[in-house]
Amino acid sequence: MPAIASEIATLLDSGNAVTVSADSYRARHTGNTPPAAGASTTATRSWKPWFPVIDYDRCTNCMQCLSFCLFDVYNVDENSLIQVRNQENCKTNCPACSRVCPEVAIMFPKYSGSPINGEPVNASDLSREKMKVNVSSLLGGDIYSTLRNRSDQAKSRFSTERSADKALAERKRCLDKLQRDGFIPAEVLAEIDLTNLPSPEEIQRRAAAASAKAQAALAANAAK
């Protein structure tokens, strides 16, 4: 690689934006953490920019993503239009919400597979949407009632059996099942801190909050 290109590449890889003119270049550090001497690029960042990006040419504002995400990544604007708001809450490398979007409108540009990475959506991608029905039936047809049931079962289980080890084993079993069914990528599962998952009650609370937000937005849109 020629020296100049190599210097610019090094600057970019350590978080600098570079403006190149005919005879000089100027670098400006942009990353939110300064690069540590000798550290590799990825090691210098506290957050990999991983978050959903909505293709508004496809989105029908159905609010499924808002209802689905328990981490408050989605919200609506003052016109009740779906928005991605809290990008940093998104679970790195998890594209699960893209799989609940019936319009294939949710992209993760840093995902490896098509069309989630932003490649054009083709007919077979759309027919794969039927898979989402399966995803939903996997969760009992209605994600919320499933979460609620799971929560109720978990509550009674936890009230009779206080063993943290058993609770952890149960969570592992549930997550393994979701992963086997292709719902959560294996690499994401590997990264999840199983000892630090939200409690069933917390999951239920988040699900109810997300659902209420989605319902309110849908009602506002219907009234337009």
């Binding site: 190149v20 000089s24 400006r28 942009t30 540009p109 054009p120």
Partner: protein, 113 residues
């Protein structure tokens, strides 16, 4: 921190036709190193003025004001990834790209496969 380094004059320097933005996709291996390097070398060798950023995704997430400035141009050429994703990033950052913006998809570079 600002630094100004001298770049040798390129005899092939030609009249700039567009404002080029090169995305390094620095925080993921979405686009292979050789493909990104080949594009960067091409740009450097062209003598054309250009702007290079570590990661457009990060700029969109932080709503970097530079994105809005770029989106106001009608001569913008972006070298990054899939056009649908790049357009979505600008829209999500509150500054939709003009229809004149050209997006060069590094996934489609001959050596990308």
């Amino acid at each position: 921190m600002q630094s100004l380094l001298k770049k040798p004059q390129n005899p092939k320097y030609s009249q700039r036709m567009s404002h080029t933005l090169y995305c390094r996709c620095a925080y993921a291996q979405v686009i292979s190193g050789p493909v990104k390097n080949a594009r960067l070398e091409q740009l450097c060798a062209s003598g054309e003025e250009f702007e290079a950023v570590p990661d457009l995704c990060e700029m969109a997430a932080t709503r970097d004001p530079r994105l809005a400035e770029l989106a106001r141009r009608d001569d913008l050429r972006i070298i990054a990834c899939h056009p649908r994703a790049v357009k979505g990033l600008f829209t999500q950052a509150g500054c939709p790209l003009p229809p004149t913006a050209e997006i060069v998809n590094m996934h489609e570079s001959p050596s990308a496969s």
